[in-house]
């Protein structure tokens, strides 16, 4: 699959289902079979990260790296490095989605007054 054809929905789906990180690997710039697929991927990922940053999701969990199909070594190095950095970050809060929802206060809903128990 060309990196230019990756809809952000798939990255989001993984993150919201609790993945600690998502690696998007694309061909090096200038090497695109379709001329500009990876340039488009670059912009799309930039927008995605910008949005993640604004809604309180760690954008550093999304990696875009240029790795050719023949660069097995680079792929392995990249994944190892990613694992180290993600371990340092700890688990994705969306690993426990129910907890995320439960912690919300119910924005715009009428406030419930808590009465002390007798």
């Amino acid at each position: 699959m060309c990196s230019g054809s990756i809809d952000p929905v798939y990255v989001l789906k993984a993150l919201l289902d609790g993945a600690d990180g998502v690696l998007i690997g694309g061909c090096h710039l200038g090497n695109c079979h379709y001329q500009d697929g990876n340039y488009k991927a670059m912009r799309r990922v930039e927008v995605l990260k910008n949005i993640l940053r604004q809604v309180g999701i760690d954008e550093e969990r999304v990696w875009l790296r240029w790795i050719d199909a023949s660069e097995g070594g680079l792929f392995s190095e990249t994944v190892q490095q990613m694992v180290v950095e993600l371990q340092a970050k700890g688990p994705n809060p969306m690993r426990k989605p129910w907890q995320v929802w439960q912690e919300t206060v119910g924005y715009r809903l009428p406030a419930v007054e808590s009465k002390p128990k007798k």
């Binding site: 809809d7 989001l12 789906k13 488009k40 912009r43 949005i51 604004q54 309180g56 969306m94 119910g106």
Partner: protein, 370 residues
């Protein structure tokens, strides 16, 4: 060339209807897409008019916008019929249309954009209620509302009517047409309608050049007030968004009706994949998830849906706020899409609806990226 359409005895709508009729009679356009008040006056509807006699209830200055007409212009132009169509649009509708043209969903071929100043719009239901409570004929009520809205220009930041403007309008910083062949304006003009159009066309319509010196000043005054409101909304939202919990908080009563995407002029896919079974797995998957977690919120796709829509729309979001108006739960979608959209647009140095030539950032690239 700039001119003023004189309103006899203060009849702004009469002057406007005369002008629109003339466009049809003189063959400037063969068809007009224009908002027309219903006989009860409680709301208006977009109409495609060929016979000028049907313009007697046209009111593009009415402060309601049941749909974004950009979508209708898309319907009427996407197959490039080449008909001479004039579309009377509010500034946010023009911006959405420009984006749709760039997305290949509409065409400017033979299209004449007649842009109007927008004094702000109200929720459809609030406006209908207000009209019900007023005295007089539908025509009188419409004129009365317009008069009050015009008086309100001088007092930016206040509500000219006893109902509240839509959130998107309260923070709108682009309420005069950016790209229009003919502009029909209300800001800074007394006893008539400001108009700006090509000299040749003005001559054909028998208009004489006349300047409106107070216009820019009136616009700036409103703009300052709106910008302040806008920045306050942005700052409040940004201050709140610390973790994903805060974002989920804004959306936790979403019923996934997809009304926001239906109402959004930019969300143009014929079939949204959230309405397909792409993310609706067989029940076994839900049981597998809940086996792992112990508890699972149903439905599962609320955050995914809104975040995906943000990704698809934020770059071109032109701030019409139709999403929030359509939302049965009144989720703060205008705030979310405007704030996040503004952040994305600033990062890409892109302003939706500003120019036809400027490419949509996601459809292009630079050799040296930021």
């Amino acid at each position: 060339m700039e001119a003023v359409l004189k309103a006899e005895e203060g009849d702004i709508l009469g002057a406007l209807r005369n002008f629109l009729s003339k466009l049809l009679e003189e063959g400037v356009v063969d068809y007009l897409l224009v908002p027309v008040e219903m006989s009860h006056g409680r709301t208006l509807t977009q109409t495609l008019v060929k016979d000028p006699a049907h313009l007697d209830k046209a009111n593009p200055f009415s402060p309601v916008m049941p749909v974004s007409s950009a979508v209708i212009v898309s319907q009427l132009t996407v197959d490039k019929s080449g008909k001479k169509l004039g579309a009377v649009l509010k500034p946010c509708e023009i911006r959405a249309l420009i984006e749709l043209v760039k997305l290949g969903q509409a065409s400017m071929e033979n299209l004449v954009i007649i842009g109007t100043d927008c004094l702000g719009t109200y929720e459809v239901e609030d406006y209908a209620k207000l009209i019900d409570e007023m005295e007089g004929t539908a025509e009188e009520k419409g004129a009365q509302v317009l008069a009050k809205m015009r008086q309100g220009i001088a007092k930016p930041g206040t509500e000219p009517l006893p109902i509240s403007l839509r959130p998107a309008c309260k923070m709108c910083n682009s309420f005069t047409p950016l790209l229009a062949d003919i502009t029909l304006g209300l800001f800074g003009v007394k006893g008539g309608i400001f108009t700006s159009l090509e000299s040749e066309l003005a001559e054909k319509l028998g208009l004489k050049a006349k300047e409106t010196p107070g216009r820019q000043e009136a616009i700036t005054k409103v703009l300052d007030s709106r910008t302040q409101a806008r920045e306050q909304v942005f700052a409040e939202f940004q201050g709140k968004m610390k973790t994903i919990v805060d974002f989920a908080d804004c959306l936790d009563t979403c019923i996934l009706c997809y009304a926001c995407s239906s109402a959004c002029p930019i969300c143009y896919c014929r079939v949204c994949f959230f309405r397909t079974d792409t993310f609706e797995p067989e029940s076994e998957r839900y049981y597998r998830w809940v086996d792992r977690e112990g508890v699972l919120r149903m439905p599962t796709e609320i955050l995914l849906y809104h975040l995906t829509r943000l990704n698809h729309v934020a770059v071109s979001c032109c701030g019409c706020g139709m999403c929030e108006s359509a939302c049965p739960r009144k989720l703060p979608l205008t705030t979310i899409f405007q704030t996040v959209g503004d952040g994305v647009q600033k990062a890409l140095n892109y302003v939706p609806g500003r120019s036809l030539e400027e490419e949509i950032p996601l459809a292009t690239f630079r050799e040296v990226e930021v």
